[in-house]
């Protein structure tokens, strides 16, 4: 049975493809996961200039309430900025903010087909021989993101550029605000961590960088040779301290129980790869601040997920699972980073 969105997507593409006729959408199906956006894949076929055309595409649509409140315009701009660069990303095709077309705002991108994203599959043993190569690519690409000039990429036009000594406060204020808004129960460990972070601020950022915001194993497409073909999930992209991005992957949650950064290799090795690619330094004390911050940020995301369910904005099971699976683990990660566990 064809998905009910297919004729509506076909109508939209007809309006966006001048000269195209007989636009048809086939095989539209939702991809599991995606707690911050509904993600669908489909194949578009049309005729143009007498020729038959075909392209596989991805639709990312805003849900009623999200695990992460993000600005899709910013996400779209981040993808576009890096397309064709040393940071592999899918090509963005259309951004649509008028809900008249598909009930909620959305964007459409090319599909990078034939690759995997699952960290569970990656770390199950079948990819062990290529994990060193994949790790090298993972932190080299992150270094490229850190090295990039946000102004040259045009991103200072769509993203706020905080002062170098204000990056940490902007982020901490934002994520503490998520706790204030969404917490359904007292959170003594996270609140203690926030007090520590405010009492021990990091030094100013070395430079203002693009921060992906969710760069971890699971948010890129890989193949069996250990190559990375697309960095995904830019919905938390912003401008800030490049150490923030490096530290997000060092949240103990993302070790996947293997005691390795990203489940892939020792942290010091990851830092060395990133430093070589970015040309930046990872001061240990500053990096520690950002790792603890990212544990707090992670907890805010899981709390927000629970909050969306409790408030009734989004009752999907994908909103419950992160909260049940990760709230306590994230508390334990905070204790571990603070030297309390």
């Amino acid at each position: 049975m064809a998905h009910s969105l297919e004729p509506r997507v076909a109508a939209y593409l007809t309006s966006k493809l001048p000269g195209a006729t007989e636009v048809a959408i086939e095989g539209l199906e939702r991809i599991s996961g995606g707690a911050s956006r509904e993600t669908y894949r489909f194949r578009a076929r049309w005729r143009e200039g007498g020729d038959a055309r075909e392209r596989r595409m991805i639709l990312r649509r805003d849900p009623p309430a999200s695990l992460i409140e993000t600005e899709r315009r910013t996400e779209f701009a981040a993808y576009r900025a890096f397309h064709g660069s040393a940071v592999p990303v899918p090509e963005m095709l259309w951004l649509e903010e008028d809900p008249a077309h598909l009930d909620h705002p959305f964007f459409i991108a090319e599909e990078l087909a034939g690759f995997q994203a699952s960290p569970q599959m990656l770390l199950a043993g079948g990819y062990d021989a290529v994990l060193p190569r994949l790790a090298e690519r993972k932190w080299t690409i992150l270094g490229e993101i850190a090295r990039a000039d946000p102004e040259a990429l045009g991103l200072t036009e769509v993203m706020e550029a905080p002062p170098l000594d204000g990056c940490w406060k902007r982020e901490l204020d934002y994520w503490e605000g998520v706790f204030d808004r969404d917490q359904a129960e007292p959170l003594p460990i996270a609140r203690a961590a926030i007090r520590w972070l405010r009492a021990h601020p990091p030094p100013p950022a070395q430079k203002l960088s693009v921060v992906h915001g969710d760069y971890r194993t699971g948010n890129f497409l890989y193949d069996q040779a250990g190559e990375i073909h697309g960095v995904l999930d830019w919905e938390m992209a912003h401008l800030g301290d490049p150490l923030e991005d490096l530290a997000w992957g060092f949240n103990p949650i993302w070790e996947f129980g293997r005691g390795l950064a990203g489940g892939l290799l020792p942290r010091e090795r990851a830092i060395a790869i990133w430093a070589r690619a970015s040309g930046l330094n990872a001061d240990p004390q500053a990096l520690h601040w950002w790792i603890l911050f990212n544990c707090v940020k992670g907890q805010a995301i899981w709390v927000g997920s629970a909050g969306a369910f409790i408030k009734g904005g989004n009752k999907a099971p994908i909103m419950i699972y992160p909260a049940w699976w990760l709230l306590n683990a994230q508390d334990r990660a905070i204790l571990k980073v603070m030297g309390k566990l």
């Binding site: 007292p186 049940w324 306590n328």
Partner: protein
């Protein structure tokens, strides 16, 4: 666990019923039921010990905070409400200890917080 187990089970019941109807796209049915199975597994894991954990923790918190009393109503919702009250007081006590520079008091509170994460630890915990 948060959201509370009864509210989640009620939602999952509706979700399973909707997925039992014809016309649900197969990938969405598979995703919904797969996640539902994982959530039911977690609920099953914590259910037997939920009341005991809350009673144990509330007792430990009262001792730490110098309160007397005991849990008389063993409904999970009542135990959880009392737990929330006590953990709110624990945050206040921790702030007071930090401001007073009372390291022994801070250490005792951290010990309880560490114990609280052990009580809540699930079999698939990543940390």
């Amino acid at each position: 666990m948060t959201p509370e187990v009864p509210a989640v089970l009620a939602e999952l019941a509706g979700l399973v019923a909707r997925n039992a109807m014809p016309g649900v796209p197969e990938p969405e049915r598979a995703s919904d039921l797969g996640l539902t199975a994982m959530l039911l597994g977690l609920a099953a894991e914590v259910w037997d010990g939920a009341a005991a954990r809350l009673v144990e923790e509330n007792r430990a918190l009262r001792t730490l905070l110098g309160e007397t009393g005991a849990d008389e109503d063993l409904h999970l919702s009542k135990l959880k409400a009392e737990n929330d009250r006590l953990r709110t007081r624990l945050i206040e006590a921790q702030i007071a200890a930090e401001e007073a520079g009372d390291q022994a008091r801070q250490d005792a509170i951290w010990a309880e917080l560490r114990a609280s994460t052990e009580r809540r630890k699930i079999s698939v915990s990543l940390v």
